[in-house]
């Protein structure tokens, strides 16, 4: 069996006196889109930040592409090929849209074809190219955050609640963008509260509750089982449509 691109084994994370993650285990297969679902406070964001090294795991192991990155620094993890889009998007509002993308291309010039592809995914960014990113709307900022994450090829994208607070039309264009990213072969671990969006995109699903993994499997199985949706998420897919 092929080793997954990312594997978390028994990961515990403490933030100050609080024990947030309680032995998290799951895998992200290469080339697939894995959804990380769960209620507010389930530990989804902490999981992404722990993978990224922004919070250190207190025990357990995180392996990425065959390498143990549990204690690696955030820049080293990013250099290994993991891009991170935080829930707050983390765009640099004083920098222009262009400068945000220039900065994300760490290893040098971005291929022009890649840039055209990115701007094809998020055409709205073109209109604001030379304007401070702080001028963008919430949806446009989210587009920029994702565009920045893919400014150069990455092995894995970690994206935290990209549709949160967006208008339905913007959610739909986000879903289209993720479909395009998925079909280009990107490996994505996506945290999402919107089960409609999650079910439309995910190959696999991991559900968290209270800092633990309570379910993992194929997204199609969860979509087909309304009882399981109700039990794991408290809502069925119908409620999101």
């Amino acid at each position: 069996m092929t080793e997954p691109l990312l594997q978390l084994s028994g990961v515990h994370t403490h933030i100050g006196p609080y024990h947030i993650l309680h032995g998290v285990d799951f895998a992200v297969p290469a080339g697939e889109l894995t959804m990380l679902l769960g209620r507010n406070g389930a530990g989804k964001t902490t999981t992404l930040r722990t993978i990224m090294g922004l919070w250190q795991a207190s025990s357990g192991h995180i392996r990425f592409d065959g390498r143990d990155i549990t204690t690696a620094s955030t820049p080293d993890i990013a250099r290994a090929g993991i891009a991170y889009v935080p829930e707050a998007m983390g765009i640099f509002t004083d920098l222009t849209v262009r400068e945000n993308i220039v900065l994300a291309a760490r290893s040098g010039p971005v291929d022009k074809n890649r840039l055209d592809w990115i701007l094809g995914l998020f055409p709205a960014l073109k209109r604001f190219w030379n304007l401070p990113a702080g001028n963008l709307s919430g949806g446009q900022k989210q587009m920029l955050a994702i565009a920045r994450a893919i400014a150069e090829p990455r092995r894995l994208l970690l994206i935290d609640e990209p549709t949160k607070g967006l208008a339905p039309v913007m959610v739909r264009s986000m879903i289209e963008a993720f479909r395009a990213l998925k079909s280009s072969g990107e490996t994505i671990l996506l945290v999402e509260q919107n089960f409609y969006a999650a079910s439309a995109l995910g190959d696999n699903v991991v559900v968290m509750d209270d800092g633990r993994i309570v379910h993992s499997g194929a997204m199609s199985d969860l979509v087909a089982d309304k009882d399981m949706q109700q039990r794991l998420l408290g809502l069925s897919l119908d409620a999101h449509q």
């Binding site: 990224m52 922004l54 620094s73 955030t74 820049p75 990013a78 250099r79 991170y84 935080p86 983390g90 765009i91 640099f92 509002t93 004083d94 920098l95 222009t96 262009r98 400068e99 993308i101 220039v102 900065l103 994300a104 291309a105 760490r106 040098g108 010039p109 971005v110 291929d111 022009k112 840039l115 055209d116 701007l119 073109k126 209109r127 604001f128 190219w129 030379n130 304007l131 401070p132 702080g134 920045r148 400014a151």
Partner: protein, 340 residues
Amino acid sequence: MSDMAAQSSAPAELPRAKTDWLPLLLIPALGLLALPFVGNPSTWVTLTVAGLAMGMMIFLMASGLTLVFGLMDIINFGHGVFISLGAYATLLVLGPLAGWALSDSIGLNLALLALCILVAMAVTALAGAVFERVIVRPVYGSHLKQILVTMGGLIVTEQLIHAIWGASPIPIPLPQSLRGAFVLGDIVMERYRVIAVVIGLVVFIGMQLILNRTRIGLLIRAGVENPEMVEALGYRIRRLFVSVFIAGSALAGLGGVMWAFYRQTLTAGMGMEVMVLVFIVIIIGGLGSVGGCFVGSILVALVANYVGFIEPKLALISNILVMALVLIWRPQGLFPVARR
């Protein structure tokens, strides 16, 4: 991506960012406002040039600190010691090359000034590296400890200056051809002040070019706003922090040289004495904003000069008044930098 690639993919008619001109207009507005109170236009020009020179020197001393504040979130009360150290470093050049200062050759005089600046920047950069490693690094993240520890570092370093160069004030000569003034009709402009304006402008333009046209500048601006995200993009922000601290110390050293020749006297406490002004201008400008620091420095210096001439009794509080008015208008400073 090369900037070129990025540019070529975007339509040519894209809108550009609007510049916030309002704070910049304060400078000419202030000048025009002062003119009728000063009365004599030639006196007004003299005061204005003197104010600009003073502003440039304050800018040189403050620009490094605003970056350190903005990027590293470090409250460095020890910054003043780099100003003093830079000033004293001139002795390393003036000792062996005293003859150059007495020469009538403007070339030799300017070369001497340039050498003083280079040596002072090298000395203060080195001191900054040591200061960051020994004093500042252990207290990242704790403002109270930073204030206490950097004040302690300042006191220790001032005492080291006393131990090396003595506690008595040391007079230093302004190079021969930098003395005197340019006289145009009734307008008198001291030569050294004109040179200070030129050096201040060169440093400001250089900093703007670095911050706006280079990747390291982009990183600094991004790091001021969100250092965690800069790390998540794969950049080692700690190295950037140290580099900026060292550069900030070197700039303070440069300011110290200019301040030393302006005062023509060295004292170990000369850096600490100007720190109130330095803090005022970086607060007025907006923490972390080099442009704001530049405009703030000029505003503070011009106001001090005009008020000192028109109503000397008010001169002492004029800077505080300027700060209060600016903060009422823009509580985050003239050019607020988006903060984490």
